[in-house]
């Protein structure tokens, strides 16, 4: 069974069509990437899959359940790492994880050791008592990743997980995501970095102006269109290097 399946998905905001008749499916254990310029509709697709926005038309199922039917049941099995930092600034690093776990009905007895494990995974084990504003950008991203894992999600949704990070922090996040892949977590991510897509994704969907232009493995795309993934991307999204 597909973890995510979208059929003829459309999302309109007033007169703007952000997502225009998009279909795709994601298999268990796969790492699936959405590439595309700003405004291509990637984030909107992510927000629909995370049951945050209802589709205008078409269907999206996650774990075989329609997103409009039982969002809370779906969300209990999802991990979401959004683009912007939305850590709770009123809470410490450790409290962020424990309070977040509570939303998933995980009692303190379980969540305290779990939170400590996750801090170790995110290499933040010495930072538990710190305030959120004392963390660097890279640490915040890692804490967001740790937080998205409190419910041991079957599907992890990452919206531009490494945007704005320095190369070391980016590598650190990739390293963590590879560990999750190894544990068979299904990953769904958006990115602007072709290197990131090549490193992590089994398949990519290239989006432009609300439509999916193509879906394939990075290897096949490069063989078919020639050059590296960036050349393929620029060719398919209608932007030539010369422009």
């Amino acid at each position: 069974m597909d973890i995510v399946a979208a059929h003829n998905l459309v999302k309109e905001y007033g007169i703007i069509t952000a997502v225009n008749n998009v279909s795709f499916s994601i298999s268990p254990g796969e790492c699936f990437g959405f590439l595309g310029p700003n405004g291509a509709g990637k984030t909107t697709v992510m927000r629909i899959i995370s049951c945050f926005l209802p589709p205008t038309s078409g269907t999206v199922t996650v774990f075989g359940v329609d997103v409009t039917r039982e969002p809370s049941a779906i969300k209990s099995r999802l991990g979401v790492m959004p683009q912007e930092d939305n850590l709770d600034p009123d809470l410490s690093v450790l409290e962020n994880l424990i309070v977040y776990a509570r939303y998933f009905d995980i009692p303190k007895k379980t969540s305290i050791p779990l939170a400590n494990d996750l801090l170790a995974f995110a290499e933040l084990q010495d930072r538990g008592k710190m305030n959120i504003k004392e963390l660097s950008g890279g640490m915040k991203r890692r804490l967001m990743l740790a937080r998205s894992l409190v419910n041991t999600p079957e599907l992890l949704i990452l919206d531009e997980p490494t945007t704005g990070l320095d190369p070391h922090s980016r590598r650190a996040v990739w390293d963590k995501l590879n560990q999750l892949k190894f544990r068979n977590t299904t990953l769904l991510l958006t990115t602007h970095y072709m290197e990131e897509a090549e490193q992590l994704c089994d398949r990519v969907a290239i989006m432009d102006a609300g439509r999916v232009v193509t879906i394939d493995t990075p290897q096949n795309l490069m063989t078919e269109h020639g050059g590296n993934l960036e050349n393929v991307y620029l060719k398919l999204t209608g932007r030539n290097l010369a422009d």
């Binding site: 995370s50 969300k75 209990s76 009123d90 939303y103 009905d105 419910n151």
Partner: protein, 251 residues
């Protein structure tokens, strides 16, 4: 809406509150004490007794009502708005099984709980000034809660509609300040022209002031109408913030 999920959000607010209150709790006492000293002891010397009560005794219970009102209003205007927009706390919570209705319910109830926390605190201050005659004053708590809910609902409606945080100044200047001045805290509203006095009856603070003053003096019967008013309005308004927040947050 599911209570178990709303409860999780209430727990979050409680965790944050108990973490921060130590540094701000003493401040809660400052404002009511200032009002009691300035208005009650200062101005009160020049004011004749109102309905047989000294001026400071007249305003004491009203200060309990207004402090609890402002607690709920701050929570569901600036508090909710900051969590919703700048801190994006709502986005984070909505990625969990909690949905927008659970979240709205928790925001409203938390504001009402804060009304009670502030109301009780100020009650202690007013009692310490020797301005409360009857233990019946404890019975105001459920009405402070209900009235807190009304203020939370009105504030949340505003929050769901404002284009930006600066717009709250309209709400405070055009709604909260008149409410504070003309709800019978500082003078009986029937001294005003009939039309204005009649207007006060439609505001929640007027009824809460009534209840606080009456219970502090040990009377219950004169405020049965106010009790009914608060209960009905709290229930009747409830669906509106839910609908508007759904629209605001889910675009």
């Amino acid at each position: 809406m599911r209570i178990s999920r709303a409860w999780r959000v209430l727990q979050r607010h409680w965790t944050v509150y108990t973490k921060l209150y130590k540094s701000s709790f003493a401040l809660n006492f400052v404002e009511p004490v200032l009002y009691l000293v300035a208005m009650g002891m200062g101005l009160g010397v020049f004011v004749k007794d109102i309905n047989g009560q000294s001026y400071i005794k007249f305003i004491g219970p009203g200060i309990i009502a207004s402090s609890s009102m402002f607690a709920a209003v701050y929570e569901c205007t600036y508090g909710t708005y900051i969590r919703m927009t700048f801190q994006k706390t709502f986005d984070a919570i909505l990625a969990t099984p909690v949905n927008i209705d659970d979240l709205t319910a928790a925001e409203l109830v938390w504001a009402a709980v804060k009304s009670v926390i502030y109301g009780l605190t100020i009650m202690i201050v007013v009692a310490a000034f020797g301005l409360i005659d009857s233990w019946l004053v404890i019975l105001t708590v459920p009405f402070i809660f209900l009235c807190g809910l009304i203020f939370a609902e009105v504030s949340m409606i505003t929050t769901a509609l404002v284009p930006g945080i600066d717009s709250f100044s309209y709400f405070y200047t055009l709604f909260m300040t008149p409410l504070f001045l003309f709800s019978g805290i500082f003078f009986p509203v029937d001294t005003l022209p009939k039309a204005v006095a009649g207007l006060a009856w439609f505001t929640p603070l007027y009824h809460l002031v009534n209840i606080c003053r009456s219970f502090s003096a040990g009377h219950v019967t004169p405020v049965l109408g106010s009790i009914a008013w608060i209960t009905i309005v709290a229930a009747a308004l409830a669906p509106v913030p839910f609908r508007l927040m759904r629209r605001r947050v889910i675009e």
